[in-house]
């Protein structure tokens, strides 16, 4: 859960964080007194780097889920701001409302003009309420669909950024057809005649994530998670105890590396050491590079070929055994 606190340190980040604080103190001391502590500082920095490497190369799935939810983690607009040279946000589904949990707009990215659509979380209580904690209503999906169709009309590739704890489970959302809105997007994205690249940047929870996530390439940040339900939701149903979420995260295999093994994700985007929140610029750079690389390949394909390959891609997904 997001908080308003300025510094948020996850449990497993603490050892490194403590060292970093110590280094900061020593630097301040040097500045104040002129005493040379550079040897000690260097030694501590090496130790911090080593520790960081050790911790972050051995993260459990649940720890990655926590990183994906880190309140300092870059959100869709943080990436959009860094990877685009031009961005004009477009609003509304032209049917009922504007949904602030999904942002969408026209963008320049590298040498391409594209549309970008992403789920958007808030950073503090006020903005989280405004963004509905990144949980879209049907209008968000219908706005996305409108922008997909706009992209198709003007032959622009589509980039989607996934970061949602789920589609909003509210009364109005049901009345206005949450399920239909998501289903319609899956259907239309499958046959959209332009390249679609999806990047899971944070949380990918269920149909609410997939509702903007059908594409030619599925990329995933190293510390993002993506599954059929949140670990808490799974734990509440199968273990009858939401506190068993860490076990559920392990059992459902929700990490980027897992999704490569399961042949769902095409590429894992490496994050800066310690997670994307430690260096949003570097994280955005990596995202941009990955998008451009895949876009270059996809731009060569005809609309027919794109749609055919997309269908084949999804037809392969899943695992089963067949007798006889």
């Amino acid at each position: 859960m997001a908080t308003d606190k300025k510094v948020v340190v996850l449990e497993f980040e603490k050892p490194v964080h403590e060292l970093e604080e110590k280094i900061k103190e020593m630097r301040a001391y040097t500045e104040k007194t002129g005493m040379d502590l550079s040897e000690d500082i260097k030694r501590l920095e090496e130790k911090a780097a080593e520790l960081r490497k050790e911790i972050y190369s051995n993260l459990s799935r649940w720890q990655r889920v926590q990183l994906a939810r880190h309140p300092k983690r870059p959100y869709s607009l943080d990436y959009i701001e860094r990877i685009t040279g031009y961005f004009e946000e477009l609003h509304g589904d032209r049917r009922f409302a504007e949904d602030h949990a999904i942002v969408a707009g026209l963008a320049r990215l590298d040498k391409y003009t594209v549309v970008i659509i992403g789920q958007q979380k808030g950073r503090d209580t006020k903005s989280n309420i405004y963004r509905n904690f990144g949980m879209p209503n049907p209008e968000g999906y219908r706005k996305a669909l409108r922008i997909f169709e706009l992209a198709a009309k003007f032959n622009k590739p589509v980039i989607t950024l996934i970061d949602t704890p789920g589609a909003y489970p509210g009364l109005g959302a049901e009345e206005r057809g949450q399920a239909e809105a998501i289903a319609r997007n899956l259907f239309e994205m499958a046959r959209l005649p332009v390249p679609i690249i999806t990047v899971v940047i944070g949380e990918g929870a269920s149909g609410g994530a997939l509702g903007i996530g059908v594409g030619d390439r599925i990329l995933m940040m190293e510390n993002a998670w993506y599954s059929v339900i949140s670990p808490e939701g799974c734990a509440a149903i199968l273990w009858r105890d939401a506190a068993k979420a860490p076990q559920a995260a392990e059992a459902m295999k929700v990490t980027a590396a897992d999704l490569v093994d399961l042949e769902i994700v095409d590429e894992v985007i490496r994050e800066p050491e310690g997670g994307a929140h430690n260096d949003a610029d570097a994280a955005a750079d990596a995202v941009k590079k990955a998008i451009v690389t895949h876009l270059k390949e996809l731009m060569k394909l005809s609309p027919e070929k794109l749609i055919e390959q997309r269908l084949e891609k999804y037809a392969r997904m899943g695992a089963w055994v067949e007798k006889g």
Partner: protein
């Protein structure tokens, strides 16, 4: 129509139990004690209050298709437990136990059949098999049924009875939503009719994919239909849900169902609609 007259407050709680064993059954709708043989003859609809009991795919095959015309295909696709999943017990054990208990091989049966002589391709989900949950096998079998309809240029019927995607297969279950929807998009390009038949319950990922993508949406009376489960919504909004919330009548009144059709009329009404689509208008 009778179902308009039902006086009972429609409950929004979890779906009712399947028809229990024994000679006599108590109706969930009106409390009447019914002789089970009698109920069976009525395809498990209460003759007092028209309550539709939840039934398995075998009853629907009997009800919907001309006698002896239903031919199952892809019967022998089974789950591979791709995640080696274990909660309080292993998915593998639960799966085997479900196969043994229900006599079903998975949560969907696919095949071809005739409805009042009209050849169709059909997929019928079955709630008895792990709550009709959609994992890789359900997605694959339904996907192949869609392919079959595409190839044969025959109408497609998908009967949904499902609590949603199967958690035991994680993201692979989720991707079945995309797989089936993508195949339906291809089917639509050929202008082949697809009728989505929603029964109690149709929720979660099933609703958020093929169940909501039909040319015509038909539901049985009183079925629970929605995306999020009533319990989750209740928790989120912190208040009781209005009577009839997420039931067929509610979903129709909000614009997401074309028709609510009594179980006894399903075959006739569906085949009439298919005949309508099939009809070619005279050139002059």
């Amino acid at each position: 129509m009778d179902w308009f007259k039902r006086k009972k407050k429609i409950s929004t709680s979890a779906p009712k139990k399947d028809v229990p064993d024994g000679l006599w059954v108590k109706c969930d709708g009106c409390g009447t004690i019914i002789y089970k043989k009698e109920l069976e003859k009525k395809y498990y609809v209460c003759s007092q209050c028209d309550h539709h009991f939840r039934v398995g795919s075998d009853v629907y095959i009997d009800l919907l298709f001309d006698e002896g015309t239903f031919k199952e295909f892809n019967a022998d696709i089974a789950s591979d437990d791709p995640l080696d999943f274990t909660d309080v017990k292993s998915y593998r054990d639960k799966y085997q136990a479900t196969v043994k208990k229900t006599g079903l091989k998975e949560a969907v049966i696919t095949g071809t059949g005739k409805m009042n002589k009209i050849p169709v391709v059909a997929a019928l989900m079955d709630f008895r098999f792990m709550g009709g949950s959609m994992g890789s096998v359900v997605g694959e079998k339904i996907g192949r049924a869609i392919d079959m309809a595409w190839k044969k240029k025959q109408p497609l019927i998908i009967l949904s009875a499902s609590g949603g995607a199967r958690m035991h297969e994680g993201v692979l279950s989720l991707m079945q939503l995309a797989k089936t929807s993508a195949k339906l998009a291809r089917l639509a390009e050929r202008n082949i009719p697809y009728i989505s038949l929603l029964t109690n319950p149709t929720t979660g990922g099933t609703t958020a994919s093929y169940a909501m993508l039909g040319d015509v949406h038909i539901a049985e009376p009183g079925a629970l239909i929605g995306f999020a489960g009533p319990r989750v919504i209740k928790q989120t909004i912190g208040q009781d849900l209005p009577p009839g919330f997420q039931r067929s009548e509610f979903v129709r009144d909000h614009g997401f169902l074309d028709l609510i059709v009594h179980r006894h009329e399903l075959k006739q009404r569906i085949s009439d609609i298919l005949a309508f689509f099939k009809h070619k208008n005279p050139a002059k």
